[in-house]
Amino acid sequence: MTTEVLLSISGLHKAFGGLIAVNQMQFDVHAGEIVGLLGPNGSGKTTVMNLISGALQANEGKVVISGKDITNLPAHKISHSGIARTFQLVRVLPDLDCIENIEAGLAYRTKPLWGDAAHAAALELLDRIGLAKQAHTPAGDLTYIDQKRLELGRALALQPKLLLLDEWLAGLNPSELQDGIALVRQLKDEGLTIIMVEHVMDAIRSLCDRCVVMNAGTKIADGTPDEVLSDPEVIRAYLGDSHA
């Protein structure tokens, strides 16, 4: 495994009123790694993703990518520093067609593409994610899996160093899941670094190099999938004391 740290999170803290959603969160992500972010519902995984991507502002702590401090920068600047994401509840641009959805990712990145160049690049990317035939379909008319593919395509269009997938594999049927896992693995082979929030254990075991497990806003485990999934603390968080 490479040793270069791409993303480093330290002392990250976020409270919504009296509710502490993320408490002194700390972990590193190495370049080329897939890190799974696990934990029971409400443990703060999506909030961590939102803090990294700039959708939310942290109360305390630091987020550093490639040595650059991006804590609490506005989302568009964080996007320009090489982080792209998908959303837990899939977010496409419903009235725009698939090409335009991808062009949205191409047109405002650090090295923007526009016009014919963007059109060609969008078609190429749609082909890669398996949506070439739907190029002119409004995104709102796509099936759920295709909307998820499109959202991933838009994130990839930004040419990120780090990709955040928030339950990107949730809600897929078994064959779609296999396609999805293959697509994510392909991205890893191309050298992309990925953090994925996921509940699908098959995907976690087959894709993740390392897992960070959260419970009630704090990190309770950090290690290979096998290590963390047999950790008594993790089992207790998911299943309660009697199973630990």
């Binding site: 568009h76 320009h80 419903p94 725009l96 335009e100 062009e103 990712g105 405002y108």
Partner: protein, 326 residues
């Protein structure tokens, strides 16, 4: 993106011919019809400028008359001191500065808060101007005696409308225009695509306000007398919203489809029912919002689209042809 592409030249050429023809209207029409034409063109500029920002972002602004009034007042104050083109430049600057202030302070507001703020802004500006006139200049109301004929006003407004349509047309094909559409679809996604959402919104708000200000400035000489109540009449903002919504604010020429019938209707209403104008205006507003949520353009597309789909299976041709008709 090349400016010399045929799909750019053709609509621009057609537009140029139509506007050139319209410039000869004063040779045929008498002064009543010229006055009506001025109303139509001025509302066309206001509703199109309003839609340029509010169509894609879906921010309903009731501040139209703030900028319109600033334009008119600039002419009233500076009209006799400077040459008219210079007055227009000053009006444009004043409108831009106010739009920048308003934009940066309010475009972070969402939905109904923005609507209420823009409505309140009209009242605020009107009161500030009144206060200034009462306490500083000590004269309420001003006369605008300028050597500008009705036909001059018509030609200036027509030119302004042509510039506005060209701006809108170029904008619709630009990265800035595309950014605005993405923001209208999903602001969070827009941010995560690297778009500086606040800057884009402010830029378009200012551009739209600039055209509103110039409309007010150009039309001011028609009134001969203005005071804050006339210049900052909130009714105008509502009329513009109704017209844009009736036509369809999400297409460049959409608002025009609302402006023409409604300007004529308002003309009839003010002449026949001067005392019930506001009530009737409200009724028209409700009918439009309930029956035509997508405007005339939306209605046309709704009935047009299914028919076309059976004719050609490719959704691309359907969408393309719809865009052309709009």
């Amino acid at each position: 993106m090349s400016i010399l592409k045929p799909d750019f030249i053709k609509p621009v050429a057609i537009g140029a011919v139509i506007f050139a023809a319209l410039a000869f209207l004063p040779s045929f029409a008498d002064s009543y019809y010229m006055s009506l034409a001025i109303s139509v063109v001025s509302f066309a500029v206001l509703a199109t400028a309003w839609s340029m920002f509010s169509g894609p972002t879906r921010y309903i602004s009731l501040a139209t008359v703030v900028f319109f009034g600033i334009g008119a007042y600039t002419v009233a104050v500076l009209g006799e001191i400077m040459a008219f083109p210079l007055v227009l430049v000053c009006a444009g600057l004043a409108g831009t500065v106010v739009a920048l202030l308003v934009g940066f302070s309010t475009l972070r507001l969402a939905g109904v808060y923005f609507v209420i703020f823009t409505f309140g802004l009209t009242e605020l500006v009107r009161q500030v101007v009144s206060w200034y006139e009462v306490n500083v200049t000590r004269e309420m109301g001003r006369y605008v005696f300028l050597d500008i004929t009705q036909n001059d006003i018509y030609w200036q407004l027509l030119a302004l409308f042509a510039v506005l349509l060209l701006t809108g047309f170029v904008l619709g094909r630009s990265r800035l225009g595309f950014a605005l559409r993405i923001i209208g679809e999903d602001e969070t996604v827009a941010k995560h695509c690297g778009i500086d959402v606040t800057r884009v919104k402010v830029a378009l708000f200012v551009l739209s306000a600039l055209f509103m200000t110039l409309t007010g400035a150009i039309i001011a000489p028609r009134w001969t007398y203005i005071d804050p109540v006339i210049a900052f009449n909130p009714m105008l903002s509502f009329q513009v919203v109704i017209m844009a919504l009736l036509g369809g604010p999400r297409r460049l020429l959409g608002p025009l489809l609302g402006v023409i019938p409604l300007t004529l209707l308002f003309e009839v209403l003010t002449a026949s029912f001067p005392n019930h104008f506001s009530i009737l205006l409200g009724c028209v507003f409700m009918v439009i919002v309930y029956l035509l949520p997508g405007g005339v353009v939306g209605l046309y597309e709704k009935y047009r689209a299914p028919k076309k789909r059976t004719l050609s299976s490719s959704p691309e041709t359907t969408r393309k042809s719809e865009e052309k008709t709009a």
